[in-house]
Symmetry: C2
Subunit: 241 residues, 2 copies
């Protein structure tokens, strides 16, 4: 019997934010290839006889991506039900589209199961709605880091509306410079470290002092940066513990 690949979004961190479909797919997996940020509680749902493969990788490690893709294909070709378990959503800066394309090119069926992204749930758990009728009818979700480790260009940043920036901590000075080309220095900013987890930390500042706040508090990846008036809603909304 032929193998099959599922790219499953595990959600933003809180292990209960995986979808019902994601969880039931994980439970039938024979091989699970999982990312660095996947919670151990999610992995505890895997079958006792399933093969668990850790595929943690850091930004820029291109060879590792190739190794991961080859592993997925190898096990699927052996007829296995393979789950590639990814943090957040497979198609939100998850390189899921590359893995899916390669799997399909090998003649192996590939299904993508969406997950809750930290770009939305991260701000929510910090008491910040990313949209709001009073504040913003649009949200731009941006990877601060482009292919080749370059910083995002200003053309991707609209002059109005909420911005949610992922993968921005390791180059926050450059990022701030790009944002200031389009946005004003006094725009409210929230920096959310370890979004949706018990270890979550939230720092409120402005675009002007964003770099100081990140360095003084020693904020580490993964962190979500929110820019825009929606940040002001935090004072009004329930702080989720």
């Amino acid at each position: 019997m032929g193998g099959i690949v599922y790219l499953v979004g595990a959600g933003p961190g809180d292990p209960e934010l995986i979808t019902v479909k994601g969880l039931s797919t994980l439970r039938k997996a024979e091989v699970v290839i999982y990312d660095r940020l996947i919670d151990k509680k999610i992995l505890s749902n895997v079958r006792g006889d399933a093969l668990l493969i850790y595929a943690g990788k850091n930004i820029g490690e291109a060879e590792k991506q190739e190794t991961i893709t080859s592993l997925i294909i190898k096990h699927a070709k052996e007829g296995k039900i393979v789950v590639r378990l990814k943090g957040g959503d497979p198609y939100v800066f998850g390189r899921g589209e590359e893995e899916c394309e390669r799997v399909i090119n090998e003649g192996i069926p590939c299904e993508v199961i969406p997950g809750v992204t930290s770009a939305i749930a991260g701000p929510t758990y910090a008491g910040i709605p990313i949209t709001g009728r009073q504040y913003s009818p649009a949200v731009s979700i941006i990877s601060a880091t482009r292919k080749g480790d370059e910083v995002i260009e200003p053309d991707y940043i609209p002059s109005k509306g909420t911005l949610v920036i992922l993968m921005g901590i390791h180059k926050f000075t450059q990022l701030r410079g790009v944002l200031l080309k389009v946005r004003s220095a006094n725009e409210p900013v929230a920096v959310i470290e370890n979004a949706t987890l018990e270890s979550q930390r939230v720092f409120i500042c402005s675009l002007n002092d964003m770099d100081k706040v990140i360095s003084q508090n020693n904020v580490k990846s993964p962190a979500v940066i929110v820019v825009g008036d929606v940040v002001k809603m935090r004072d009004k909304l329930w702080k989720l513990s």
Copy 2:
């Protein structure tokens, strides 16, 4: 004992795309106030003795929003566990922030449980990744309709990157006009009706002929409109049935 309110995102349509946390919260609800687009299969998880209240509303019906908020507060004040079940994610154009603020102002605890948004899962089920290293490091999710039923302004639309537009079908001609102020007429467009459901229909066109395609095929709300090069990926990725 005091009541509590949970704003729960039910996901984009496919009933299995609700989160584990959303489902377990729904199962303990004593009162469920649900939106028009919620699948009956999701509602079948509710306790036998729970009160189910339909709160379907169409765009612009402001009085209904007030009625819904009052209902939430009334039942919570009676000490009930109230679930406000919303399509997609409560904070992605769901007016969840208004409901949450009002509930908190009444001294009632309110917790928000994120859901998968159709802005991401809709394109995924149509074989379109909203981001991609080869195509776009950013995605803007935009409500075509603003408060007061006006169309979105061009300031919210970046000149580059993927655009995902919700609530655009009932004013697609105006929307196309705004998009053409920022984007070129030959940009690829996907129009996805009933995203993630079995009745899903997908139409591929360009910004230039988007209005013709929507009217000739009699596309109805809810539909997700995707603009950008990521639409080209559809040919390469597995078509989910």
